[in-house]
């Protein structure tokens, strides 16, 4: 059974359709990469899955239950889905440790001692133990993004959404963040990534989805999408990426 099912999802902003009937299934432990030009609807789709945006039609199911049901408890749903943003969005007035333990302590009511122990283990796993007491503005972009990933993991989500998490980073810092994502895949985390890192998508994805103009034009295993795309628009997009030296 699939972990996440997206069924005919539409989203409009001011008479402009950003998502036009998206269908997608994500199996447990699957890594799905969303590719496509800026404005194709990748980020909006992730925000809809996390209920940060309300959809205008269709339905989204998590573990078989409809999360877009207007009677569903949105906070309860978000507790099972982690999200990481392009610009990290760490809380600047809190230390790294407080950023990570905030949701476990306040939402899941875990004791401070227990929450900090778990946060300490995650920080150690991703090589950031010495930064626990630091404030976000003392960290490099790559470190901040790794902390943001740990913060999203701290609530032990079923699904992790990553929205162009390397786009704001200096090229030399991209690898450390991609390393974290690779390790999460190895540990069996189900993830949906919106990304411009084509070679990474090709390498890590189980399924690659190509979006254009709010339509999911083509999806399949990376070998197929990157070497033998069926849709002419996919070929065109990949050619442009190739011309820009990004593949």
């Amino acid at each position: 059974m699939s972990l996440l099912t997206i069924e005919g999802v539409w989203k409009h902003y001011h008479h402009h359709s950003v998502l036009r009937g998206i269908d997608l299934e994500v199996a447990p432990h699957e890594v799905v990469c969303l590719i496509g030009a800026s404005g194709s609807g990748k980020s909006t789709l992730l925000r809809c899955v996390n209920l940060l945006e309300t959809i205008d039609d269709g339905a989204i199911y998590l573990d078989g239950a409809e999360i877009t049901d207007v009677r569903a408890d949105a906070d309860q749903v978000r507790g099972r889905i982690g999200m990481v943003f392009q610009s990290y969005n760490l809380f600047p007035h809190m230390t790294v440790l407080d950023n990570i333990t905030l949701a476990p302590r306040k939402v899941q009511k875990v004791s401070r001692v227990q929450a900090e122990k778990q946060a300490g283990e995650l920080l150690a796993r991703f090589g950031l133990s010495d930064k626990a007491r630091a404030y976000p503005d003392r960290l490099s972009g790559g470190q901040q993004q790794r902390v943001a990933i740990i913060r999203a993991l701290a609530t032990q989500p079923r699904l992790l959404l990553l929205d162009e998490v390397t786009s704001a980073l200096d090229p030399t810092l991209v690898t450390e963040v991609l390393g974290v994502i690779r390790e999460l895949k190895d540990s069996g985390m189900t993830m949906i990534l919106a990304t411009h890192e084509m070679s990474f998508a090709r390498d890590i994805a189980d399924t690659v989805c190509f979006l254009e103009g709010g339509v999911l034009l083509e999806h399949g295993p990376p070998e197929q999408i990157f070497t033998a795309p069926e849709h002419p628009r996919t070929r065109e997009f990949l050619q442009r990426v190739l011309d820009a030296g990004r593949l």
């Binding site: 996390n50 940060l52 906070d75 943003f85 969005n89 809380f91 600047p92 503005d137 972009g141 609530t155």
Partner: protein
């Protein structure tokens, strides 16, 4: 931080010459500033003391005998001003924050509360504080309600709280709105409720940003505590007018003014200090 490998730095002759030139320029700037300050001060003194009315002014405003006589009373009155704003300030902060938070509630259930908050800020920012002192100070006792205060100091504090609460609510609201929406998204994505998002993420950042404008409002409140004199309690302004009325000498007013300045100037410097520190932090956050 490790020192990168490479040659050690010894200041070059070029750099030494550059620094000597900069020191020379700084010395010249200081001399020019000193000279112009002294010149302006001297001109001002000459202008004032050579004016035809100066002997009279000196007599009525700068009389040391009067100063010594009125000072204890004015100071005692001033302590009442201090008491008024020390009580009013925390109440204003709480009221302002509550009104700002109520205005941010989005659920239709809270419409009446939200409407009340908007009505409150609109009305009380519109009424001149001096008018509000009269309305509250004479209006509430006239209602003859059971348990309603009729002590002029309490009434004065109520009027100041109502007036300043409306300003402070707007300051808090602008602070809350200045926190980037992505901070809210991040908090909501972690399953924090609207209330938890405000409490742990938005309000702490908003409060830090509005400290300088809040202190500015409080400097203004300290001065406006003198308006309570209209209701009769013996605070600094009232004490000075009593002395002035019995001696036809205005030195006590100057004395009261000096006491107010003595309090607001340190506060203004403290505000500058906080603003400068906030600016440094922002710059620090940019270097990563």
């Amino acid at each position: 931080m490790e020192e990168p490998a490479g040659p050690a730095w010894v200041k070059s002759d070029r750099q030494l010459r550059r620094e000597a030139e900069l020191r020379g320029r700084a010395r010249r700037s200081i001399s020019i500033a000193t000279a112009s300050t002294v010149l302006v001060a001297v001109l001002l003194v000459i202008l004032v003391t050579s004016s035809p009315g100066w002997p009279r002014v000196r007599e009525t405003f700068f009389d040391f005998g009067q100063l010594a006589e009125s000072f204890p009373d004015v100071l005692r009155g001033f302590l009442l001003n201090v008491k008024i704003f020390v009580i009013a300030e925390p109440i204003i902060l709480v009221l302002g924050l509550v009104v700002a938070l109520v205005r941010g509630l989005r659920s239709p259930v809270f419409f009446p509360l939200r409407a009340l908050a908007v009505f409150y800020t609109d009305v009380f920012r519109g009424i001149p504080t001096i008018l509000l002192i009269y309305l509250v100070g004479f209006g509430i006792p006239a209602l003859q309600l059971q348990g309603a205060p009729n002590d002029p100091v309490t009434l004065g504090i109520i009027a100041l709280v109502l007036s300043y609460g409306a300003y402070v609510a707007e300051v808090f609201r602008s602070g809350i709105e200045s926190v980037h929406p992505s901070q809210r998204s991040a908090a909501r994505s972690l399953a924090l409720s609207h209330g938890q998002t405000m409490r742990y993420v938005v309000v702490p950042q908003a409060v830090r940003r509005v400290v300088p404008p809040l202190l500015n409002d409080f400097a203004s409140l300290q001065k406006d505590s003198a308006l309570v004199a209209l209701l009769g309690p013996l605070e600094a302004l009232r004490q000075s007018s009593i002395h002035a009325a019995s001696s036809f000498n205005y030195t006590p007013y100057l004395c009261a003014a000096a006491l107010f300045i003595a309090l607001t100037v340190p506060m203004a410097r403290f505000t500058d200090h906080l603003a400068a520190r906030a600016a440094r932090r922002q710059m620090g956050a940019g270097h990563v």
